[in-house]
Every structure is written in structure tokens, then in C-alpha cells.
């Protein structure tokens, strides 16, 4: 059986015994060992040391195996055996999921509470990361201009409420008919049964058409290569399961969407290797950095199976240009790895830069198509996160076959498919929506960036997404994650604005924050600026 990454449960007391003096003991063994190897240790050391090592090895193995003879030792660590891969200390923790211990979970066999799997037993309490804590605070005390003017203003959620009214209006007119049909056929029997389990063909056709429209018809999508999933979250996970084995890794440029840590790693046991992007490059992806990370991984014995890019990117909002995409494809070909292109925000651009899909890059190519897989969904571009509509689009028949079967675990609901078939086929509505949405996003983006600039906060020039990526390093008390989180805390609890600190997104440079603007109205912007101003006390 392949090894899996587990979140370790640790028991306080035995932990101390185990790790105390670990380093010292190691040295005391290694130095004489060198002597043995070099033939200077003599007979005594030459036999004692290997025996001692053998004994310690047995002891270590015994402690980490579930011993059926263990009686009521609730302090024993042997109950949830964990295996560490060589790179475990580089494993990025799930945001907010602390490896806290629960006594109750360490149960010896045949007595005490029944145990759950090691792979999840470390996740007892969670939500401690700023990302989740901020969302929680807003939920508890949401700002409302009239009812709760002192509430927390949400700038931490990459949702788009700016154009929901357009969708609502369409629905008010068309929903019932859209879902149940016009009464000619048995309407329930049209949506209730299974077939086909990987999505209605009309749905795939409608989604393919929408994707094309959203990307300004620069490329057409083949409905037969679409696998619908219940949101982009399972799309990413399914691809991770298909392209990598437990213990393998994906290269992911940082800063990245915090959810990837869960989607890519949690149940799959696959690792993420951070490929840092820097402000000097405006946080654009550098192939040289990719190459460096690939080689470092190789040295550590980690097999890289692919690169995951987000285009437009989150949290920065960059678009990857054609040249970079071609270079990325070259890189993938050279290393014989996959590319997962998360294009879930393709229709949420607000600038004048051209969006280029990976699909366009491989449109002419034949052989390299098999390594390209696109993730899409309607949560962002159509503001329907609740409806759970995601897409895996792949040129690789084997991945298609596997993903289709795996999508059984995360399928899109039939009435939702029906509704969207109607909505997405209404090309006039789609066109109006895309254009209006673009205008509204742009307006908000410009105002937010200008407002921040007035306070001396500069943002990276970006063209996509619902947020701006702003540099507040001039305002943090210490140029460190700690300083950054302190500022985040002040902004949340004193300023009453929830923003996302860069450390949640694994940004290598402290002081960067993501400000989402698509859950605000224009009236909210001056209020937001006022509140931020209140908090800021320049340090430099």
C-alpha cells in the first residue's frame, strides 16, 4: 500500500521523551561510526555500535506499530501510526488546521473511545488561520449601512455580487420553465434519473459554449472533453488524484489561493512545492524559478508530476501572457509533466489585457495536449458558487476516462444542470452579462486601487479577479509574518475590515494583502478607506 501523508497526533509527554536530545544522541553515534567506517574504531565499537543501532531501530519500529498486547495505556503514541516522508517538515499545513491533540482519539485497541483515521485525526479544531477567522468575524458581525454601520466590512471573500441582479432578473422570468420544461414531457423524469452520470450532454454543450464566449471566442471547447464536477474544488482534487501518486508533488507558484492546500493535498497525500514569485517581477511566474524548484525537489527525492497555475491568478490578479504560457508548455514537455490551468476567473477580467487560455496554446499542438488540463467553474464568472458547477476540461483520453468515473463522488445536481442549460444557451443574456460585469468590476477596481493609493498603499497592476494585491509592508511593525498578522488583526478588530494577509497565501514577502472589492457597493469604498486610515501608523 502506498504511504499517505497523515496529520500527526502527538501526545505531549511521550513526545518530550522521543525528541529530547535527539540531536545529541545522533552525534554521539555518528562520530564513532565514522571511526568504524574508516577502520579506526576497533573491534569493540565495530560490533557495539551496529548492535546498538539495530536495537534502536527495533525499539523505534515497535513504538510506531500498533501493539495488540498494549493494555490500558492511554498515553501510548502507538495507536495512530504515522509515517513520515522525508520532506514532511516542508509540508505546508492546511490553513487554520492546527495539529492539536485530542486525548480522546488516542485509544488503545479494545478499550476507550473508537479511533478515527490518522489521516484526519489531527484535525480536531480548526479555523485558526486569519483567512477563516476573518470570514467568521464577518459572519458574526456583518456590516450593513443602515442596520449595522459598525459591523465588519468584508474584503476577504473572492465572491462577485456586482452582477447578481442580472442573473436574478433572468431567473425571475425563466426559472420555472427552465427547470421543469414546458410541460410537454414528463418533467421530473427528465431530471430525476441517473443518466448519464457524468452530466447531461446538453449541459456540457451549454457549458462549452459559455466557456468559449467568456474567453471571447478565441478558442472553442469540445463538450465531450468536459467532465462536470460539484464545483472547482473537487475538480482540482480529482485531477490531483489522477495525475499524481501519494508522496508526489505539484509545483505551485506563490502566492496562491489558500484552498489549494486542502484541494491538492488533504486526501490525496500529494505535496505542493512553493515556487516563489516576487514583487520585483510584479509577482509574475518565472520559468527559471520553476526550474530551480523542480531541481530542488529532485534532489530531495520528490517526484514532480505537474505545475498548477491560476490564470487569472489569485490573490494577485495577474494574467499569464502568451509567451509565458508557451514557455510553460516547453518546460512541461522538457520535464515530461502535466499542467493544470485553473481558469476559473477567465470571465472576470476587468482590464484591457488579453486573456489567453491554455486551450488556445495547445489548439494547434497535437502531442503536448495530453499534458494540459483546465479547471473551470461558474462560481466566479457567473456568481453562482452555491450551485456547485465546476469543470474539468482535458485533452487526455485516459484522464477523461478516469475523471468521469471519479466525478461520481462529486456530481452536479440535475435541476441545476437543467436551469443552466437554459441560461447559458441564452447567448444574448450571456453577452450582456459578460460586458456589464466587466464594466462594473473595472469601476470598483479603479476606485479601490485609487483609494488605497491616496493612503500610500500601492497595488500590483492587475487585470483579473475581484481583488487587488496591495503592498502594506510600509505599515507593519516588523518585516515579518508576525508583523503582517499583527496588522491584519488591527485592521479586523480596530478598523473592522476583513482582508487577507499574504502569509495565508504563502507569499514569500511579508506585508502584502489581498483586498476583494466585488462584495462591496461603490458607497462602501469611502467607508473602507476611512477605516483603514484609522488603523495606519506608518512605521518607516
Amino acid at each position: 500500500m502506498t504511504q499517505t501523508r497523515y496529520y500527526r497526533t502527538r501526545s505531549p509527554e511521550p513526545e518530550k521523551e522521543k525528541t529530547g536530545g535527539g540531536g545529541g544522541t545522533a552525534m554521539r553515534v555518528i562520530v564513532p561510526l565514522q571511526g568504524v567506517v574508516q577502520g579506526r574504531g576497533g573491534l569493540v565499537l565495530g560490533s557495539i555500535i551496529p548492535c546498538a543501532l539495530f536495537y534502536f531501530l527495533q525499539f523505534y519500529l515497535k513504538r510506531n506499530r500498533d501493539d495488540p498486547d498494549d493494555k490500558n495505556e492511554s498515553n501510548s503514541t502507538g495507536q495512530n501510526p504515522t509515517t513520515r516522508s522525508p520532506s514532511s517538515e516542508h509540508l505546508t499545513e492546511l490553513p487554520g488546521l492546527t495539529r492539536s491533540l485530542s486525548r480522546a482519539l488516542l485509544s488503545p485497541r479494545n478499550s476507550g473511545p473508537v479511533s478515527i483515521s490518522a489521516r484526519v485525526s489531527g484535525i480536531v479544531k480548526g479555523g485558526d488561520s486569519p483567512y477563516y477567522m476573518g470570514l467568521k468575524r464577518v459572519k458574526e458581525d456583518p456590516y450593513d449601512e443602515l442596520d449595522n454601520p459598525n459591523g465588519v466590512i468584508q474584503l476577504g471573500l473572492a465572491e462577485n455580487k456586482l452582477s447578481l441582479d442580472l442573473v436574478k432578473d433572468w431567473l425571475a422570468e425563466n426559472a420555472r420553465e427552465a427547470i421543469l420544461g414546458n410541460g410537454k414531457e414528463l418533467s421530473i423524469s427528465g431530471i430525476a434519473p441517473y443518466q448519464p452520470f457524468d452530466g447531461l450532454m446538453e449541459f456540457k454543450v451549454a457549458v462549452a459554449g459559455f466557456m468559449s464566449q467568456v474567453m471571447e471566442n478565441a478558442v472553442s471547447f469540445n463538450p465531450s472533453q468536459i467532465v462536470p464536477t460539484a464545483g472547482a474544488t473537487p475538480a482540482i482534487e480529482i485531477l490531483s488524484f489522477c495525475l499524481a501518486d501519494t508522496g508526489n508533488a505539484f509545483l505551485v507558484p506563490t502566492p496562491y489561493y489558500p484552498g489549494f492546500d486542502r484541494d491538492v493535498k488533504w486526501r490525496t497525500g500529494v505535496e505542493i512545492i512553493h515556487v516563489p514569485c516576487r514583487s520585483a517581477d510584479n509577482f509574475h511566474l518565472s520559468i527559471a524559478a520553476l526550474d530551480r524548484s523542480f531541481n530542488q525537489a529532485k534532489k530531495r527525492g520528490l517526484k514532480v508530476r505537474g505545475v498548477i497555475i491560476s490564470n487569472p491568478s489569485n490573490p494577485v490578479g495577474n494574467l499569464l501572457n502568451r509567451e509565458t504560457l508557451y514557455s510553460l508548455l516547453d518546460f512541461a514537455r522538457e520535464k515530461n509533466i502535466h499542467i493544470i490551468s485553473n481558469e476559473i476567473l477567465a470571465g472576470s477580467t476587468h482590464g484591457n489585457e488579453e486573456f489567453v487560455s491554455m486551450a488556445e496554446i495547445v489548439a494547434q499542438e497535437d502531442t503536448d495536449r495530453k499534458r494540459v488540463h483546465i479547471v473551470y467553474g461558474l462560481s466566479k464568472d457567473l456568481s453562482l458558487p452555491g450551485f456547485r458547477v465546476g469543470v474539468i476540461y482535458t485533452f487526455n483520453e485516459d484522464v477523461l476516462a478516469a475523471a468521469r468515473k471519479l466525478s461520481r463522488f462529486s456530481a452536479t445536481s440535475a435541476p441545476t444542470q437543467r436551469l443552466l442549460i437554459s441560461m447559458l444557451s441564452d447567448t444574448k443574456f450571456v453577452r450582456t452579462f459578460i460586458t456589464t460585469n466587466w464594466e462594473r468590476l473595472q469601476r470598483m477596481y479603479v476606485q479601490l486601487v485609487a483609494g488605497l493609493e491616496k493612503m500610500g498603499i500601492k497595488s500590483i497592476k492587475s487585470s483579473g479577479g475581484f481583488y487587488c494585491w496591495a503592498d502594506m509592508s510600509g505599515f507593519i511593525s516588523s518585516y515579518s509574518e508576525k508583523g503582517e498578522v499583527e496588522l491584519w488583526d488591527k485592521l479586523l478588530n480596530i478598523g473592522k475590515v476583513n482582508v487577507t494577509p499574504g502569509s495565508c497565501c504563502h507569499c514569500i514577502e511579508p506585508g502584502w494583502f489581498r483586498f476583494c472589492f466585488a462584495t462591496l457597493t461603490e458607497k462602501d469604498i469611502p467607508v473602507v478607506m476611512e477605516r483603514i486610515q484609522k488603523v495606519l501608523k506608518p512605521v518607516n
Partner: protein, 438 residues
């Protein structure tokens, strides 16, 4: 002359290339045969009749009537006031109104003999996802779950594929109507131990698929005792609980726990879904009901990979919280399934075929062992092929359900009209007559 350099093929994972999805088995092969030549009442009367799909189509009209009369369920009301909030709702706790409706529906199905707390309900996109999710949570790769045979073929995929967990069968046979015995459970446990597999739980389906029968109270008590004794989990897949022909014959594990004052409850988890009882598999609605707080919390977080569309939650919350609808539906559905069951049993008996005495589900467990050349799996599959290709009926061979006794077949009766069922019975009758003569 250019040298042809073969591009190294970019590799896929072990999961992707594994056959653990099980779709090469006869269970699924029969579906393919049906897809290629589906029976139709008027346009293809010689096509294959699908009797291998456990779907419930007998009560669609009740659903349709409700939706006709309650347009607010499918359209968020006039002007769609609730739409915005619903469209943005992706909280993995799920709509409270929907969880409340599910809890109350589950209580109604059990005749009020068990109570369900909406806050213990975790929503998933179907029971397929619920079973897989529970497996991820309760077992590690390489561990084992004990499952009584015969069992639903999909379990091989749902419980093992991505999870890396093993299934060790608890063998049941016709000598006692395939009931689960303590001896059989113990034997399975020992078998797992001898293979060095750590047993983490036992998973039962009650009412059983493919047997079409509920598990008796005494057996449930023994199963729970076994789980307590071995300190393992107990998952009760009660997806057919609303499809029992009489309400009093189904006993849920929840009732057993109730009588025990919920002692030992933290190891029990119930899976439910609307795919069978309500005939809505396309809606993708499943739930995990767990008495274990940590399992509830973890399952909720993990359900991010398999959330139910908020639109669907809204629709069903409206429908299921309408007591008039739900009571009438449960009662009428039971009556109709019972009638269908009687019809098929009578029809099969006339053809000289016996079935296991059933009292639930969308299928019956048919005994064709007298027809086998030899009491082997090969003979069973040969017979299955004949029935598929000559009689043009797709039924499920017991071997695909891991039945240890060859010759048993699962036959579904609720996924077609009465007329189609008549035709199917005629075909079986003719087939049996032919065999008698030859």
C-alpha cells in the same frame, strides 16, 4: 532523414489507471448492453429490458404534482427574492431548513421511533460520496472494512478506490436466508487479522441491497455488540429505509441505540439519500448522520468536495418540510412498491422461480441455482449471458455482488412501467418453458 523520437508519454497516477472502479464487472457490462439496445414500449420492443438498475420510478407523479402546485420551490418565488442569498450559499453546514427537513423526513420514515438532530446531519452529493467520505474518515489506507455478502457492487469502487481501504467479506448464505451471524462476523474478523489488515469498521446495508430484506432486530443487536466488542465503527447504510413495503418491519440502528440509551453511539454512523426513496438520483442528495462529534466536524469539512447545489437544497427543503406531501408520499410509495413486488413474485413463481422472501427495496433476490449446469461462478455467468443476449433482460448476477453461493440474481422492478414489467415476466416465462422442454 529525420529520426523519429518517440515522446515519452506523460504518466498518470496509480489511482487513475487502477481497475478498482470495478466498471469491467458484469454488473456494469449489462448496463452497456442495455445502452446499446434499450427496450422501448413502442419503438424498440425487442430491446433489452433494464432490470439491473435500482431506480424508483413508481412515484414520479407525486413529485410532479407537488412541483406544479408549489412553484416557489423551483423558482425562489415571484421576483426571486431569495435567489441572491441562495446562489451565494456554499457553506458546508448546508441550508438549515434543508437539514431540518431531512431530519424530520428520516423520522417520519421510521414512524417517529427515532429522533434525528439536524445539527448531526452532514450533506454530500449522493450516498456514493457519503460512503467514500466515511471511509476516508474511519479508516487508513491498508485498513479493512467488514461487509456482509452479497453486497452492492458499487461498494468495491466507493469504499476502496481512492481510499486504499480493503473490504473483507462476511459470508452469508441461503441456509439462514443470508442473515448475518456472529460466527460469520468473527470469521471475517479473523480472516482480516490473518492478512494483517486492521479492521476499522463494519458496514451494513439495511434494508439490504441486493437481498431486498430488512435486517432483524436480534441481528442488529448482535452486530452492534460485535462492533463494541472489537471497538470498531458501525456504518448503517439505510438508503432504502423509505422503500420498505410496510413501515413497521424496518428497524433502524437508530432505534437500537435509542433503547440502549445511546451508549456506544459514538461509533455509529448512518448513511441516507433521496436517490431511492424519492427516486431522485440525478439530484445528488446524500447525508451522513453521525453520533460522533469529531466525525461530524471532519465530515462536514470534507464535504467541501461534494456539496449539494444550494438550488437543490432549497427545492427539497420546501418539498420535504411540507408534512402533507411527505406523509402522503411515504405511504403511497410503500403501497406501490409493495404491489410491484407482489406482481413480480407472482410472475416469477408462475414461471417456476423462487425468490428470497423480501420486504423492502426496489428489487428481489431470485434463485436460479436449479438452472446452473454446475454450482460455479462460471455457470452463473454463462446463464447471465444467456439471459442478457437471448431473453434480452439485464439482471445482476450474484457473483458481481460477491455472493458466495452461485445462482442468485438481483432483479429490479421499480425502474419501469407496469406494462414493461409484464413483458419482462412474459419473456422469463417463455424462457423457463423452453428450458423445461429441452
Amino acid at each position: 532523414m529525420a529520426i523519429e523520437i518517440e515522446q515519452p508519454r506523460v504518466g498518470l497516477s496509480k489511482v487513475a489507471v487502477s481497475k478498482t472502479h470495478g466498471e469491467d464487472s458484469p454488473y456494469f457490462a449489462g448496463w452497456k448492453a442495455y445502452d446499446e439496445n434499450p427496450y422501448h414500449e413502442t419503438s424498440n420492443q425487442s430491446g433489452v429490458i433494464q432490470m439491473g438498475l435500482a431506480e424508483n420510478q413508481v412515484s414520479f407523479d407525486l413529485l410532479e404534482k407537488y412541483l406544479e402546485e408549489h412553484s416557489e420551490a423551483s423558482s425562489w418565488g415571484k421576483g426571486a427574492p431569495g435567489f441572491r442569498e441562495n446562489a451565494l450559499f456554499q457553506d458546508y453546514h448546508g441550508l438549515k431548513s434543508f437539514r431540518q427537513a431531512m431530519a424530520s423526513f428520516m423520522e417520519q420514515i421510521r414512524g417517529g421511533r427515532a429522533k434525528f438532530d439536524p445539527d448531526r446531519i452532514v450533506l454530500t452529493a449522493g450516498a456514493t460520496a457519503a460512503n467514500e467520505l466515511l471511509t476516508f474518515i474511519l479508516a487508513d489506507p491498508g485498513d479493512a472494512l467488514l461487509i456482509p455478502t452479497p453486497y452492492y457492487p458499487g461498494f468495491d469502487r466507493d469504499l476502496r478506490w481512492r481510499t486504499g481501504v480493503n473490504i473483507v467479506p462476511i459470508h452469508c448464505d441461503s441456509s439462514n436466508n443470508f442473515q448475518i451471524t456472529p460466527e460469520a462476523m468473527e470469521a471475517a474478523y479473523q480472516s482480516a487479522e490473518s492478512m494483517n489488515l486492521k479492521v476499522r469498521g463494519i458496514l451494513i446495508t439495511n434494508p439490504s441491497n441486493p437481498l431486498g430484506a430488512t435486517i432483524q432486530r436480534s441481528a442488529l443487536e448482535q452486530i452492534l455488540d460485535f462492533a463494541v466488542n472489537k471497538n470498531i465503527h458501525l456504518v448503517s447504510d439505510e438508503i432504502y429505509s423509505g422503500s420498505t413495503f410496510s413501515s413497521s418491519e424496518f428497524i433502524s440502528i437508530a432505534e437500537i441505540l435509542e433503547t440502549r440509551g445511546y451508549k456506544d453511539a459514538e461509533r455509529v454512523h448512518i448513511v441516507y439519500s433521496l436517490s431511492k426513496d424519492l427516486g431522485l438520483p440525478g439530484f445528488r442528495v446524500g447525508t451522513i448522520y453521525s453520533y460522533n462529534d469529531q466525525v461530524v466536524t471532519t465530515a462536514r469539512r470534507m464535504s467541501s468536495f461534494t456539496l449539494i447545489s444550494s438550488q437543490t437544497q432549497h427545492l427539497l427543503a420546501c418539498m420535504l418540510s411540507n408534512k402533507e406531501f411527505s406523509e402522503n408520499y411515504i405511504k403511497t410509495n410503500r403501497e406501490r412498491l409493495s404491489k410491484r413486488y407482489d406482481m413480480i413474485i407472482k410472475g416469477l413463481k408462475k414461471a417456476g422461480i423462487e425468490c428470497l422472501k423480501g420486504n423492502a427495496g426496489l428489487f428481489c433476490w431470485m434463485n436460479l441455482s436449479p438452472l446452473l449446469e454446475k454450482p460455479t461462478r462460471e455457470s452463473e455467468l454463462a446463464l447471465w449471458k444467456v439471459i442478457l443476449n437471448e431473453v434480452k433482460l439485464n439482471i445482476s448476477p450474484g457473483s458481481s455482488c460477491h455472493c458466495s453461493e452461485p445462482g442468485w440474481f438481483r432483479v429490479c422492478f421499480a425502474n419501469m412501467s407496469e406494462q414493461t414489467l409484464e413483458i419482462a415476466l412474459e419473456r422469463i416465462h417463455k424462457f423457463m418453458e423452453q428450458r423445461k422442454r429441452s
